[in-house]
């Protein structure tokens, strides 16, 4: 069984933010919500590195562990999704997430916190695949169309990889062997136990 994972190769990421733009455009994510973002470490000095970060779809997802209404579920492909009809927008998952993935749109005149929104690995939500309701609530369901997340497919340097964890790891390993140096699959130790 495939276990979907993200991997960002920090030696390849050029901080172009195409992944961020692709995600926002594909799912028509509202202003102020970033399902994916590029983080730069040591900006301006020789050890500068950039990493594209979103929900990593963790094995033992801390967001699901702290959710007081249990709105999270994990698909057979290992993608962590949630039901917005159950979510109460409490914000606990934001505090629990080591990657800062959960986002909350402002709702109402006083900017109250709305239902949580996060990366879906382009797998939509529990609604019928690519129905108007699913697209409106969660964005497009590319996995149902046999496609992988657009952020990774759009990455010009192929820094961001998305797919079955074994295949992604094999590809990354072959890169490390070819170029030498240390293997740094950022975030994997935190996110994945299997």
């Amino acid at each position: 069984m495939a276990r979907m994972k993200f991997l960002c190769d920090d030696e390849r990421c050029i901080e172009c933010n195409a992944c961020v733009t692709a995600c926002k455009n594909e799912h028509e994510v509202p202003w102020g919500i970033n399902r994916r973002r590029v983080v730069t470490i040591d900006d301006g000095i020789p050890s500068e590195k950039s990493i594209s970060v979103a929900c990593m779809h963790c094995s033992d997802a801390p967001c699901a562990a702290v959710c007081p209404v249990d709105c999270f579920y994990t698909t057979e492909n290992g993608v962590v999704l949630h039901d917005k009809d159950i979510c109460i927008g409490c914000g606990y998952c934001f505090y629990a997430c080591p990657f800062g993935a959960p986002q909350y749109p402002q709702e109402g005149a006083f900017g109250a916190r709305g239902k949580m929104d996060k990366c879906t690995f382009c797998a939509g939500g529990p609604e019928e695949d690519n129905s108007a309701l699913e697209v409106e609530k969660y964005g497009r369901n590319r996995l149902a169309e046999g496609k992988l997340p657009l952020c990774a497919e759009m990455c010009s340097t192929k820094a961001l990889l998305a797919g079955d964890g074994d295949i992604v790891a094999d590809l990354f390993r072959s890169r490390v062997v070819r170029r030498g140096g240390r293997s740094d699959n950022w975030g994997w130790e935190t996110a994945y136990k299997d």
Binding site: D70, L148, E153, D164, L171
Partner: protein, 59 residues
Amino acid sequence: MKLLTLLFAVLLLSACYEDTDVTFHEAGIYKGSEDKHAISAEERADVLEQRFKRVQTDR
């Protein structure tokens, strides 16, 4: 007149109807909608593997 008032009251109150069908929470149990797919997880994995090899491998 009384009948008309009653009819008016019924119509007015029916507009205030609120769905009381709530989901009762049970700790650790997901009670949201079921996520159904047209193809099985195995078939989907094969399709996505082919897609990965076509789109994301190094050039």
